[in-house]
Amino acid sequence: MKKLIVSPAPHLHGNESTKSLMRDVIIALVPSLLVSVYFFGFSAIKLALVGVATAVAVEYVIQRYIVKTKITVNDYSAALTGLLLSLNLPPNSPWWIMFIGSVVAIGIAKMTFGGVGQNLFNPALVGRVFLLVSFPVIMTDYSIPTSWFREGIDAGSGATALSIVKEGLAKGLTMDQIFTDNNFSYAEMLFSKIGGSVGEVSALALILGFVYLLIRKVIRPHIPVAIIGTVLVFSGIFWLINPAIHADPLFNVLTGGILIGSIFMATDYVTSPMSKKGMVIYGIGIGIITMLIRYWGAYPEGISFAILIMNATVPLLNMYFKPAKFGKEVKNG
């Protein structure tokens, strides 16, 4: 007699898996990675390779030899963390910085909590902030490495646009003077080298990745839109009050990791809220904290800290901001 499979409905399953979702995020990072290789050459390749290899190896070793559990490195989540971290370092970073960052990201921020899905804080950001605090000189040196297949890039200023602005303002210069002195232009911010970490050379490449993630329905737009909107409004108000001492809103969005942070870091599934309401509040929180740090804090960028601080609020947001239930409000009933 024929034996049939008997199991509860539904009898079909969608094609998405953790692996396919992580793979899509990696694909969305490819434009930024290519642009960074174009501008920084071997240095960008080196960082990405060390980052990915270390992240995967650390997860494997911990699962295989320390906790002796199922090995999950083939879900690409460790590789994604390594890649993201490499794109968040200054282009001239030495390889061992990348190595330490990946070990901290996977070993401490991810595996100690129980692996994929269990961590409270974004592993790549924990890695980045660990490096920023431990190696402040290297992590703020944004000079551009020499590239073996591309010569003649303007020598980098060694600092990011935001830190130039912050220092300039501290010296009593106006925004106009700072812009003219440094030849800032929005075309350059969109396409290239305004000074920043490896992955944020081109805003356009990041936006391309964002569009890909939206089309593939990997992420929803709520978090990035809330962050960028908040930054625009917050900096817009200050800019309108006194444009001489405040950078304009567009400058604030295009520099200092707002795009890479809001598109790729803040939308990390594990460490962001579940409901759309929660996502919007989380995004607004990140935007406000970022701007507070930029205007009154010690760091010129701030979004890494803002995301980590908001990560901590996610369980609370999940508890208090539930999705709209069906049938709560009866119309015409």
């Binding site: 024929k2 049939l4 499979i5 008997v6 199991s7 509860p8 409905a9 539904p10 009898h11 079909l12 399953h13 969608g14 998405e16 898996s17 953790t18 396919s20 979702l21 999950t72 879900d75 989540s77 129980g114 692996g115 994929v116 899905g117 269990q118 929803r220 599934y269 594990v270 962001s272 809220p273 579940m274 409901s275 999940n318 539930k322 999705p323 709209a324 239930k325 069906f326 049938g327 709560k328 409000e329 009866v330 119309k331 015409n332 009933g333």
Partner: protein, 445 residues
Amino acid sequence: MSKTFKIGGIHPHDNKISVNAAIEDFPVMERAFISMSQHLGAPAEPVVVKGDKVKTGQLIAKSSGFISANVHSSVSGTVHSIEMMPDLAGNLAQHIVINVEGDEWMEGIDRSPEIMREIILSSQEIIDRIAQCGVVGLGGAAFPTHIKLSPPPGKKAEFLLVNGAECEPYLTSDYRIMVENSEEILIGVKLMMSALGVKKSYLGIEENKPKAIKRMKEIASKGYPEIKIVSLKKRYPQGGEKQLIDAIVGRQVPSMGLPIDVGVVVQNVGTALAVYEAVQKNKPLFEGVVTVTGKCMPEQRNFRMRVGTTFESMIFAVGGFPKGAEKLVSGGPMMGKAVSRIEAASVKSTSALLLLTEEETKRGEESNCIRCAKCVDACPMGLEPYLLNRLSRANRLEDLEENMVHDCIECGSCLYVCPADIPLLDTIRLSKGKVLKIIRSRPKK
């Protein structure tokens, strides 16, 4: 503009591969196995005994209790036995087994193809006729239709909604009757409107069935102005009662409430056809259209089939068990039941027999929840399946009730989308049963 419901929903591939197979009569089998529990509520009580001669359409079991339905013989012949047998899911139910001899129908059943348009009966007479003929809801739950058409005192229906959405993948039985029996369906709708005393009815069809929409609109415009044909977006579970009401009239049935609480009664197009046949043709519900389909099947068919036909005979009618078929589903792939024994027989509400290969029906190995919130986005009731799953596994019944586990309509959308292959609905279904039991055991206010 096509309409749709507001919360959640998914878009599985519709796989309507049997869509062009016209309805054929399925040959009458040698032996019919007619269950006494083909409807929601108390089983029917047999009124025949072993050895009795019965005709096709003869009453063989009477409704017992308030929620119950009559059962009629789908064949003519001799009662072989009345015994407890496992149904398609393996649960024991009383069956009347009839050895078939010829196909002699009861006198009084109008078998002519002529369409009877004139409605002569009063509301109460229509409801009584529907009850006599054992009509039940053919959309899935098999709730006795005459009860749904008699709202409790104090509740008044304003609209009748007719479900032609057929949002489940693979199924085409409703589609075929909408194309082939369009006017009969509209007359059935009119009869139910008359029974309910409502002035306006909406018949919703998903836009992946343009032919059915066109045909129904054509006929409705010619003589049924009170029935509006509504085009719906293709989205699962649009055919869910609550979702359909939300989609068409924009009202949301409250938690633990019924459609009548928002002034609506919902019936399926198959039910409308059965009502037409019962009232205008005096034909009890003993046959219906069943889609026999599956990608692994050599042929895709839509059969008009007598109740009590075994799944085995359906499979053999289309060439035997196909290679690689590992799962037999009665109904659609999202909410249908896996059949444990092919000797089990069809019931009034059987809509399809679907064969799936192991590859098609495979669930991946469960991994950690990555909190992607895809289940939250998919849930058409606005629940949080990831949370309900966690609470279910910890058996935290109070928290489950607080998070409205009892609102779950078991559509399976959460499990379908979960990238980590967590058996969300499996665990939620179990705890939903427990919580409902607790809620129902509380003294009523």
